[in-house]
Symmetry: C2
Subunit: 353 residues, 2 copies
Amino acid sequence: MSISEVSSSIELPVAIDAMGGDFGSSVAVEGAVMSWNTLGIRTILVGKKSELEGHLNVLGISAPNGISIVDAPDVVEMDESPSVAIRKKPDSSIRVAFRLVSECKACAVLGAGNTGAMMASGIVEWDTLPSLARPAIASLVPKQGNLLPAVLLDCGANIECQASQLVQFAIMGDLYAKKLLGYDTPRVGLLSNGSEATKGTEVTRAASKLIQTLEGINYIGYIEATDLAKNVVDVIVCDGFVGNVFLKSIEGSVSLAAACLNEVAKDNFIGRIGLMMASPLLKAVFEDKFDPSAYGGAPLLGLKHLAIIAHGSSTPRAIMNAVKVANQLSQERLTTMLDAALKVAAPRMRSVS
Amino acid sequence: MSISEVSSSIELPVAIDAMGGDFGSSVAVEGAVMSWNTLGIRTILVGKKSELEGHLNVLGISAPNGISIVDAPDVVEMDESPSVAIRKKPDSSIRVAFRLVSECKACAVLGAGNTGAMMASGIVEWDTLPSLARPAIASLVPKQGNLLPAVLLDCGANIECQASQLVQFAIMGDLYAKKLLGYDTPRVGLLSNGSEATKGTEVTRAASKLIQTLEGINYIGYIEATDLAKNVVDVIVCDGFVGNVFLKSIEGSVSLAAACLNEVAKDNFIGRIGLMMASPLLKAVFEDKFDPSAYGGAPLLGLKHLAIIAHGSSTPRAIMNAVKVANQLSQERLTTMLDAALKVAAPRMRSVS
C-alpha cells in the first residue's frame, strides 16, 4: 500500500498556508471554520500562531474542533521571487504546509498566495512525479446551463512547452476531469488557431499526432477558442502562456460585456428597469457562473502529492470550496493514478521532443 | 510621387473578390451597391461575370453607377490549400482582384474568403514591404462605452514569430491605430502571461526590450488579457497563434455569457420580462459591440498595397463598412507610411533574432 493510499484511508486534514491571499490570514481562518462546520473536513492552519489564534478568538472560537494550528514564523510575500524566497525561508508558512504532507500529517496543501512559490515549494519539498518534467496548473472554465465545466491546462506553470509536455497535460487533464467532475470519457482537445490538422505550431502538431495514439483518451483533435460557447470539449490542452491568455481573456471579456451593459443602460430608462428586474439572472451569469473562486481552486497536477492553488482574492467560501476539492481528490487518490497513467505513456513520449 | 500617392489622388475604386464569403457572391454585389448608394465609393466586382450581372438584375440594377465588373473564371474555394490553389489558378477572382491594384486600376483589395488565399495572393502578386518578413492581420477589439476600440495584431497570419516580427507588429499597429481610428499617441502593449518584465517567453522579453527603444511609440510594456475590460491599452501586440486564440476567446466568452443568460431566464418569469425590456441594451452589447463585422474588416498589414479581409460571414452592410475602411486607409496612404516607418526601424531589428 502506497503512502497516498494510507493517507486517504485515515482521512488526514488539509494543510492551509494561512499567510497567502490578498485579504490576509483571517480569510483562511474563516474558510477553515466553514470547512469544519459545513463539510466536517479537518484542516491545519499554517502561519503565525498568535495571529491565527487572534482571528479564531474574534470569531469566538478558542479551541475549535477540526482545526489545528502549526506555527510558521516566515512568510513568502506576493512580490518576492519565488525560487529565491523558497530557498531562503525553509520555515515559511508555505514550506511548512508542504512538509506536513511529506510527514503524513496532512493529505494536501491549499494556498491562496504566490503561484510561483507554490510550484517552487512543491518541487523542493516533494518533487514531481518521476515520469513528468514539470507540473501544470489546471483550471475550470464554464459551459452553458447545467453542463459540467471544462478543464483547461496548463494555465501558466509552463510558458514554453515541448510536445511531450502537452501530451502529459492531456493525460493528466483527462484523469482530473474524471476524478473531480465525474466525466466518464471526457472529450480532450488541443487548443489551436484552427480546427484543421495543418493548423497550429510544430509543437502542437507533434503533440496532436501522439495524443491520437494514447489508449483510453477520447481525443477530438484541435479545438478553437470559440468552441468555449459550444458543448464540444471537456479537457482543453495548451501551453501555459496560451492557457493563461485564454483564461484571463474569458474573465476580461465577461467583465467588459457587463461594463458595456451598464454603460448603454445609462441612456435607456426602460432598459434600466429591465436590467434591475433581471438582476438575479445577471448575477447568476456575470458573478457566479464566471467566478473563478466558485470552482474551488486549481490543482498543480504532477507533484508527488496534492497541492491546490486558490484564487488570490478568495473569500472564506472559496477557501471552503477548495478544501472540499482537496479532500475529494485525496480520497480519489488522484496523484497515485496520475503517476500510473504517466508511467504507462512514458515509453511513447521518447518519440517526440 | 510614389504609386500609392498617385492612386489616392485620383480616387481609384476598391476591388472586391466577389466569389469569397460564406453566403455567396450576392452579398458582395449588395455590399457594392450599398457602398455606392450610401457612401459614393466606387467598387470593381471581380468574379464570374454572368453570375454577378444576374445578382445586379435581381436588384433591378442593370448598368449601375460606381460599380464595374471584371470577369474572372476561376474561384479559390475555402477548403483548398491556399498556396497550391493560388499558384494553380492565376485567373481566380482573388488573383485578378490583386492584379487590378498592381495595374493601378484599384486602390485596394477586399475579400471575404480564404484568409490564407488572401495572404498568398498578396505575396505572389504584390510582395511584402521591403523591410518586412511577413504581413500581419490586424483586428479591432471593443472597449467600454464610447471609447475607441483597440487594435490587436497579429490575429493569425504568423503562427510562430521572432522578436523582430513582434517589434514590426508594434510599429504597424501604432500607425494603423493612428490612421484608422485617429489615435494621437496610442498606448502599445505586448500581450503576456503577467505584467512583470520577467514574465513572457524569450521572444516576448527580447521584443519588449527593443520596442522600448523605438522613438514615437508609446510603449507601456506587458499587458494581460484581463486588461481588455480596462482602458489601459490601444494596440495589443502578440504572435498570430496567441492573437487568434485571444480574438476567438472574446467571441466565445461573449456568446457563452449570452447563452447562459437565456438559460437561467427559463426558470425566472420576472427576470425574463426584465430581459425583454432590456433587449435593446442586450442587442447593443452582445450583437453590435462584439460583432466582428461592425468594424469593417481586418487589413493584411505589410503588403506593398492595401488588402482587407472581411469576415467570412459578412453581410452587405459589413462589406460596405470594409469598403469604407479600404477607401479611408488608401486616402491616408497607410502603406506608404508603414513602409517608411519600417525602414527607419530596420537597423535596430538586426540586433534581435
